[in-house]
């Protein structure tokens, strides 16, 4: 066993996830590798269905039982993949926790929010009921829920979407985890609330020195909130690097396409948006080669032959494309105008 770098919190190596779908087994995630240091923030972007949530859930060990996980996930050098559920339970909510996309459904409608926030405390820290309640009030106060002492015995339906998302954040933060995974925490909320929630998460992460993985398909959210980012497509990482770097240089044609497709505020009226033609491939019948091959304007035969390797295009900036020479030349300077 190699000595783990003490600063490295989580190390994912060649992660693969195979799921049973109605259309047969599908490789939802393949060959995903990354490391995350303590206090570092990582963003995950990509179109719907590209495997962002599956990657996150495999870190949490919460994939469906039928899922087959290959590769390795190490937390502080300890292997997590294939860890027995009982042991995993001791980590979840304690050292790794997660905020989910839908604040409306992520809370149990039958329990008070106080009960739900206190649950990880009672379980992992063995707090007494009174202690846990006190702590829960403090937590709810911290996430900016107005009047927490009074509202701790209210039920989820009595809160608005933004307030509920705050409650789930309080839950995720209860045991001060080392790693926080936020899976599209604001997709369901409107812009003004989204801003508040992202501010809140950023503050908390900073204040407690947590590591964070933030998942989104909104490039703007990623740009403003993480230090490093990965772009996923068809179950693989197609580009990864420091956020600034990726935004500045955008190596992969998909990343570029994604960026161009967004309507921009203040753009000249009557211009056409540039779209990516074609649709996302079905996971069950992914091509052998580059998953983006069918939609890529730069595709050549070699792209379809085998999964392209990761190419380093800058410091810590890698792109899974064999045509970076062309793609990056085309986009230089086109972005920041």
């Amino acid at each position: 066993m190699t000595m783990a770098d003490p600063a490295t919190l989580i190390e994912v190596d060649n992660l693969g996830v195979r799921l049973n779908t109605s259309r047969g087994p599908a490789q939802a995630v393949r060959g995903v590798s990354f490391t995350l240091k303590r206090g570092e923030t990582l963003g995950l972007v990509g179109e719907s269905g590209c495997g962002k949530s599956v990657t996150a859930l495999s870190l949490m060990g919460l994939l469906p039982e039928s899922a087959v996980v290959t590769g390795s996930i190490k937390l502080d050098g300890h292997e997590l993949a294939r860890l027995p559920d009982a042991d995993y339970c001791k980590l979840r909510g304690n050292r790794i926790s997660m905020i989910f996309q839908e604040p409306m459904t992520a809370l149990n409608p039958m329990h008070t929010i106080g009960h739900q926030v206190a649950e990880p405390l009672r379980r992992h820290k063995k707090y007494s009921a009174a202690q846990a309640r006190k702590e829960a009030i403090a937590l709810l106060d911290r996430v900016g829920l107005p009047d927490p002492a009074k509202r701790i015995d209210a039920y989820p339906h009595q809160f608005s979407g933004g307030q509920r998302q705050r409650v789930t954040i309080a839950m995720a933060l209860a045991c001060e985890p080392d790693l926080l995974i936020a899976d599209e925490p604001t997709t369901a909320l409107d812009v003004t609330i989204q801003g508040q929630i992202l501010d809140l998460i950023a503050d908390l992460v900073e204040e407690r020195g947590m590591s964070m993985i933030l998942i989104s398909h909104d490039l703007g959210v990623i740009a403003e909130n993480v230090q490093r980012m990965m772009v996923m497509y068809g179950g693989t990482v197609v580009e990864s690097g420091p956020t600034d770097e990726v935004f500045r240089r955008m190596g992969h044609p998909y990343t570029q396409g994604l960026f161009r497709a967004r309507p921009k505020l203040g753009a000249r009226k009557g211009t056409q948006l540039t779209t990516i033609s074609g649709t996302v491939p079905e996971l069950a019948d992914l091509p052998v080669g580059c998953a983006f091959g069918d939609r890529c304007p730069l595709v050549i035969d070699r792209c379809r032959a085998a999964l392209p390797p990761m190419v380093e295009v800058g410091p810590g900036h890698v792109v899974r494309c064999i045509r970076t020479d062309v793609s990056m030349a085309a986009t230089v300077g086109a972005l920041s105008a």
């Binding site: 179109e47 719907s48 900016g144 608005s160 979407g161 933004g162 909320l189 409107d190 812009v191 003004t192 609330i193 989204q194 801003g195 508040q196 992202l198 501010d199 950023a202 398909h217 909104d218 490039l219 703007g220 959210v221 990623i222 740009a223 403003e224 909130n225 956020t243 600034d244 935004f247 500045r248 396409g257 994604l258 960026f259 161009r260 497709a261 967004r262 309507p263 921009k264 505020l265 203040g266 753009a267 009226k269 009557g270 056409q272 948006l273 540039t274 779209t275 990516i276 649709t279 996302v280 972005l335 920041s336 105008a337």
Partner: protein
């Protein structure tokens, strides 16, 4: 302002009565629309933005005559939709159609595309059934689908394709106005671009008018000639997109603009002020935004601001509009 507008909405109000909880107290009310007046000229598009619950969808439903408003009138091509007989209304519907948010939920999963798209025709008495298929084929072509798709079912299409089908359905009667309630919110970035392009193409081709509802300012900016910002059932600011987004005159519009994350290198974190959410039922005096407004003062709390002209084709309901316009504007992408 020479020609009569295509759509003229005057002082629209919509109140919903909440279920009565006690015998003694009167039932609560939600004022979903609180005196909205807008006009849409033929061939021009109106965008409506605003936060969740501000009454955007209610506005769409009332304009589509799916609900009877509590007060106010909706005049389309000179006909007051709430005064004409149900018979006439049914016939009038060929002139205004609707596109919904959810591409998965707005198509009946048990009907073929041909039936779905032909639906608005089946209601018109003068429509000739034998020509339905030909008309469906033609309109599918316009939205970029093929004849072969006619006998398929919705589940055989992707989200973007479905939204095209929904648009085809709206187009088939050759309407003058299409009301689109968040037509791209549920779509992926890349698919969203396809649909927006299509909508723009169609407008150019047929001279349609859209009422486009969205909470994404960029989408509205992209497609519309005029934008109305709604807050708590009122229009708080209205004008050309460039005026609005470059010289916004209402603090709420400003808050909205600030909240949009900017996708660009070196963005870094921007702080946004905490914002309370005002209640809709409280019949507050003064400006409804005052609780969230950084500029609010005693005057704002007491006197409700009226929508007033602050620039050429630029209206705002704020006592301090000029002050807001003078503030340095948030940098705009592009």
């Amino acid at each position: 302002m020479t020609a009569a507008p295509l759509l003229d909405v005057k002082d629209l109000e919509q109140r919903y009565t909440l279920p009565r909880e006690s015998l003694l107290r009167p039932p609560g009310q939600v004022r979903a629309l609180n005196g909205v007046s807008v006009q849409v000229q033929a061939g021009k598009s109106l965008g409506i933005v605003g936060e969740s619950g501000s009454g955007k969808s209610t506005f769409a439903r009332v304009v589509m005559a799916l609900e009877r408003p509590t007060a106010g009138e909706v005049t389309l091509l000179g006909r007051d939709l709430n005064r004409i007989s149900p018979e006439e209304l049914r016939r009038a519907r060929r002139d205004f159609q609707m596109v919904f948010q959810d591409p998965y939920g707005s198509l009946d999963p048990r009907q073929t595309i041909a039936r779905i798209v032909a639906e608005p025709l089946t209601v018109l008495d003068d429509a000739d059934r034998t020509t339905f298929r030909a008309r469906v084929a033609a309109v599918l072509k316009q939205v970029g689908l093929r004849d072969a798709d006619m006998d398929k079912y919705p589940h055989e299409f992707s989200g973007g394709q479905r939204q095209r089908i929904a648009i085809a359905r709206a187009l088939i009667t050759q309407p003058k106005l299409i009301v689109a309630d968040e037509p791209v919110s549920a779509l992926d970035v890349s698919v969203q671009a396809q649909v927006l392009n299509l909508m723009q193409d169609l407008q150019e081709q047929f001279g349609l008018s859209y009422i486009l509802i969205s909470h994404d300012l960029a989408v509205v900016d992209y497609l519309c000639d005029e934008v109305a910002v709604m807050y708590l059932g009122r229009v708080v600011e209205q004008g050309r997109p460039e005026d609005l987004f470059e010289r916004c005159a209402h603090p709420y519009t400003r808050a909205l603009l600030d909240a949009v994350p900017r996708a660009r290198a070196g963005g870094g974190r921007r702080r946004r002020g905490a914002q309370a959410i005002a209640s809709q039922s409280a019949a507050a005096t003064g400006c409804p935004y005052v609780v969230r407004c950084p500029l609010g003062d005693q005057h704002c709390r007491e006197v409700p601001p009226l929508l007033r002209r602050v620039g050429e084709e630029h209206l705002a309901a704020c006592h301090k509009a000029e002050a807001v316009m003078a503030l340095p504007q948030a940098a705009v992408e592009g």
